[in-house]
Symmetry: C2
Subunit: 238 residues, 2 copies
């Protein structure tokens, strides 16, 4: 029994090894926006040669972290599923506390940072101050219970129903889940409900994406809707 090395260890090491490279880590973080990127975009983003990135993508796909979809001469990749997104998120959140030198270097970086802090998508749900505001409003109105865990209340289910947002349970994914935001350091709504809400917000024009990044902006219609349905002060979102 000495050397009862847990059979899980090799797999765990292999999985962590996929994330343990700075270039691959940068890719995973970029893909946290939930969209599909081409290999070239990722190569430019990470600052390495296309050939290098191609190999990285091969490993990430083989390891099950990414899903790929080939279209013509393009190779699109995205995070394999919500589970992987949660994993990367969680690891990143553990790291964030050590965010030394967090000051922006340039003006446009400052602008982009501010926009991201205001509102963004985190894989498939809302994050940033916007995500926090929504989550807080849910909690304050008794739609979400955070004091004894993290779950929607019956009133919360009603709210989604009345807002015309359908919650479809899929597989084992929880209806509501806390996602720890790494700019706000506070939990916000993720899971099926978070994804449905985000999708609804983008579909109905409550929010729009800014540029091609994952930052989002609340529209005038969105301010009205969020104010009316959840009592969120529009000023807090600007």
């Amino acid at each position: 029994m000495t050397t009862t090395r847990d059979a899980t260890a090799p797999g765990l090491a292999r999985l962590a090894g996929l994330i343990a490279d700075e270039t691959r880590a940068a890719c995973l973080l970029a893909l946290l926006d939930g969209r599909a990127w081409t290999a070239g975009e990722l190569a430019r983003h990470a600052g390495v040669a296309a050939s290098t990135l191609s190999e990285h993508l091969g490993k990430l796909v083989a390891g099950g972290l990414l899903a790929e979809e080939r279209q013509g001469r393009h190779r699109y990749v995205r995070l394999a599923d919500a589970r992987v997104a949660q994993l990367v998120e969680e690891l990143a959140a553990q790291v964030a506390p050590g965010d030394a030198a967090r000051r922006p270097r340039t003006l446009r970086e400052a602008g982009a940072g501010a926009a991201m802090a205001r509102g963004r998508t985190c894989y498939d749900h809302l994050a940033g101050r916007l995500g926090i505001a929504v989550t807080d409003a849910f909690t304050a109105r008794g739609l979400l219970r955070q004091d004894t865990g993290f779950a929607l209340t019956d009133a919360g289910l009603d709210w989604f129903d009345r807002a015309g947002i359908r919650l479809v349970r899929t597989g084992r994914r929880p209806l509501a889940r806390a996602c720890l935001d790494w700019t706000e350091r506070r939990p916000h709504l993720a899971g099926v409900a978070g994804a449905a809400l985000c999708r609804h917000a983008l579909d109905t024009g409550w929010c729009v994406r800014i540029g091609s990044e994952r930052a989002v902006k609340v529209t005038a219609a969105g301010e009205e809707a969020l104010s009316g349905l959840l009592g969120i002060d529009p000023v807090a979102l600007r």
Copy 2:
């Protein structure tokens, strides 16, 4: 903006790198039992020279994953906190689906495996069939809500109160949290409530540890208590 490499990437890669070695992974998994191990025990467990393991421990401690405590000529290490335990758990759970060749090799391995499957600690809470049984009983009795997330109900808070188990909120740790068990593939109760319950169970003799492993056994007193307080059929725990 090309090469807008996320500032989090280096930290993420470094963190993952700590887990990306098979020997270190084996240590982390072993430490998931929540107890403190000596360097020598871990070296034997992992099957490497003491000198090698010493370096690994240095890195894990420096990286904040382990906490150390020196006593005489011994160096005890344990997981730094519940957050780290959750991280390792979650990564291991992602790996587990690929549990090919899960058959036990020897009789005693089969015995140990069966005991672990029956009941064990997972860092600081109960897992295995025992953990599932408790969680299911909580849910069936309306003490825990799993359909819309994962949270104790008011009745659940009452139950802990009446059982004389105090729940002390500490820092940001959630009162109730789902931990995905990798033998049962189902969520069970973790967080402050899970830890308090496990501690109470061990303190009052509802359960006892088997040998020096993390497997636990329900005692006669435990069967009575769990049956009386939660309506759990004692036979299901054997």
